[in-house]
Symmetry: C2
């Protein structure tokens, strides 16, 4: 049974200010929750339909509250057009990412990525390519936005995701580390033939504006993804998540 | 001025049966239309707000009808949550793709891709990597679906997109050509080290089921995209459009 107060509480979590105040977020769907329930996230409450109740009762942690709900009740709390049998309330994790943890690793820096679908897809790509540290400029969409969680397919688990003031962050990186900083630019070197390392920070620019001008000076290696387009009719471009996949693939295959 | 009849006509184009009957589709947004207006698509009518009216009056073909509309009118015909200043009605093209046109080229075969966002993104990737022939199984989402057109950012232009009965198609390919057929499988060879050619058909499987069992026998070279995931907690997976980007990138960089 869902109380009216609980429905109101969950609906309010569509807004970042409420999520931040409660330090809670919503995740939905069987696959997403399987991923999150086997991670170090603390799941507070799970609401699911009869059909999957037994399954989730075996998956949840001891301290998790499990409630069976009707499909009609799930519709009232779901952020999806078609609710996916299960919805959970999960505690946000405090991000902790000291600079020594960036060393000897590939890390991603996301510069003003606004689209929740793109951020979620990039997290999924990062999981595939074994990149655990994701640093976001403060203007990126909130990682706990329900659409981000959904698009990530649960790949927010197992990651350190930190929001920073971007200029301060890169000034500190420059001062305190020798990490190479990679970014893609029209005038960069061909990523397919350039020497790449398995250590550093890969900067991904925003959908609309690319890497912001004030970050460009910090980039130590400019890369370029060549297009193989046949006709140069119009301007071909890559979605930022697609560019991320190609860049990560190139770094990892070496 | 938009008549009631015109509004009704455009709204009806959200459905495939009406698009197929009229042989017309809808595209929206400045970038998408810039792409389509410089292609060989025949644009029948353009509806735009005052702000961009002069711009589009210079872009359109002679036979295209241009109508200025109020934002409130555009809202009534737009398929987007936030209308993008311009919407056009465009003639569908008849697909024509003889087998000789598949030779000496990389071609994509899409096996039951249902998600319009994925199909649109794959078309954009194909444009980037210079792949002009896209063969779709008859269960793929309609390429003229407004969400596909939108996600493609206009990259439906300049392509040959053919819908086929998939078994018949591959039986004919086997009988009439020597084209290699590539597909990704868990038990395939590492795509990063395998020899790849710039001729053949790359089969991309559906989001939910991968390449369908009845097509697997036609694949002459099985490939595998290795994961670099750190923890094997849960099952990492790639969205089909992301996998398409990595596969196309590997074929083209050689």
């Amino acid at each position: 049974m869902l109380t009216k107060a609980k429905i109101k509480y969950i609906n309010a979590l569509s807004q970042k200010k409420n999520r931040t105040q409660e330090l809670v977020f919503v995740a939905e769907g069987i696959k997403v929750l399987e991923e999150i329930l086997t991670s170090d996230f603390k799941v507070k409450e799970v609401f699911c339909t009869k059909e999957v109740f037994n399954y989730f009762s075996t998956l949840i942690q001891k301290e998790t509250e499990l409630t069976e709900v009707l499909e009609s009740e799930l519709e009232k709390i779901s952020f999806l057009k078609t609710p996916q049998k299960v919805l959970a309330l999960i505690e946000q994790k405090e991000a902790n990412l000291p600079f020594e943890n960036l060393e000897n690793k590939l890390n991603l820096f996301l510069d003003d990525i606004n689209d929740p679908g793109n951020l979620g897809t990039i997290l999924r790509i990062a999981a595939w390519f074994g990149i655990e540290n994701i640093i976001c400029s403060s203007d990126c969409v909130d990682v706990y936005n329900p659409k981000v969680v959904q698009a990530s397919m649960g790949a927010i688990a197992g990651k350190n995701i930190l929001y920073v003031n971007k200029l301060e962050f890169f000034q500190k990186v420059k001062a305190q580390t020798k990490l190479p900083i990679f970014g893609t630019f029209l005038e960069g070197n061909d990523i397919y033939t350039e020497t790449l390392s398995n250590e550093g920070i890969i900067v991904l620019g925003s959908e609309a504006h690319g890497i912001s001008p004030d970050l460009q000076a910090f980039v130590t290696k400019k890369l370029f993804i060549p297009s193989f387009a046949i006709q140069q009719q119009g301007v071909e471009s890559l979605n930022v998540a697609i560019a991320a996949a190609i860049v990560c693939s190139e770094f990892r295959r070496r």
